[in-house]
């Protein structure tokens, strides 16, 4: 058991405090709405801090890029890999098979990223009622 709480734990606690305690004291609908946004965003940042590095490594793998050994280099590496992949997608010579495989890989990445912000985000492929 660590003796001091880490950043994700603290942020998650602050998010719960805002959503549970402070929200009760605020009556103005517009301020309540913004308070909910603030609490929700903090919760997302807490999850991002906890597992965002893993997601960044997974995205680099999906984009076929090298994963840096130092976590501090991940944002730069991801930005560069995205830029390179956008160029590849826009290149007419990039074939349907490569694009199809990339689509499958990016579905996983975008789904995981969406779930960081919205834990209840459904990643099911078939979500609608049939005809």
């Amino acid at each position: 058991m660590p003796s001091t709480p880490d950043a994700p734990t603290l942020l998650a606690a602050i998010a719960r405090f805002l959503a549970a305690d402070v929200l009760q004291e605020v009556q103005d609908p517009a301020r309540r709405f913004r308070l909910r946004i603030a609490a929700h965003t903090l919760g997302g940042i807490a999850r991002e801090l906890a597992v965002g590095s893993d997601l960044a490594r997974a995205e680099l793998a999906a984009l076929g890029a090298e994963v840096p050994t130092d976590s501090a280099d991940l944002p730069t590496a991801v930005a560069a890999a995205r830029r390179a992949m956008v160029g590849r997608i826009r290149d007419p010579s990039t074939g349907a098979d490569e694009l199809g495989a990339l689509r499958k890989a990016l579905l996983d990445i975008e789904g995981a990223s969406a779930a960081l912000g919205q834990p209840r985000f459904s990643r099911d492929l078939h979500i609608e009622e049939p005809r």
Binding site: A30, R34, R82, L99, L106, G117, F121, I127
Partner: protein
Amino acid sequence: MHPSSTDLLTEFPWLGRLADTLGDATITAVSPLAGGACQDNFRIDGTSGGVPFRYALRSDARSSLPGSLDRAAEAQAIRAAVAADVPTPGVCHELADLLREGATATVLEWRDGVAIAAKVLKDPRLAAAREALPGQLAAALVRIHSVGPDRALSFRPSTPWSSTGEDAVEPALAFTRWNLDTLPDPYPSLELALRWLSEHRPAPRPARLVHGDFRMGNFLVGPAGLTAVLDWEFAHWGSPAEDLGWLCVRDWRFGRLPLAAGGLTTRHAFFDAYTAAGGGPVDPAEVHWWEILGNLRWAAGAAHQTQRVLTGAEADLELLVIGRRVSEMAFEALRLIDVGAS
């Protein structure tokens, strides 16, 4: 001729001019209205000749999204819709430079109802309204799409995705391309979806009036159902299938994922209601294409909303954080490509 309260005049110095415009008016209350990220909206209460009135006032905000109309152009779209019997508040007055220089304001008729989508979809008191809404919305959409460029000659928006010609697809793709290119960060998933769209274009169709933001949140609803279609800031000439696809975009279902048409009913039940209302047959594959494009448009729009804050044009928390949701729309665009048209 004047607002009754000096306090009101101090807070809203433009009220004197508004009162003059409304005739022998005394304005008794000004209430900011929620919603409308690209406008400042107010409810205006007062009396004129001893008769109480209530209006909605809608003014250009300091900044807006790409493709958003200013109020003067929006008023032309509203007039075309009113002439086609679309249930929507009519334009009573237009005032240039009212809230600030360069910002046009429109005074609109007031309609009662609930617009907040979560309430419309979940409030037990609106259960009967939810039953009626699919048919009412389909009928409203058919009336909107009955308007062709020849019937609304004064509505010629300069927005890049508007096309009075036969091909609404190419301007929509070009506008989406521009939307992505003007963002500071690259988005491979959105790029991939855009490439798929450009390789699977639907057949051209004659241009019709398109609402451009026909979704939950822009429908005013009372106990008996639809009271008004709101918010014409993205109106343009284009394909009717665009409005159908936009209504089905996942984010407008507010948790009721199985019911694709705004969380109200299934895609095909809504398409059937549209056809029954006189809108002609619907091609599900064409709407599927526009729904994917709609997700791209909303993803780029969310990223642009964040840019409005990062560039200092706005200072709103909601706008700042909304760009963090791009992954949701990116996932949905790729999911739709993966599962195909149903």
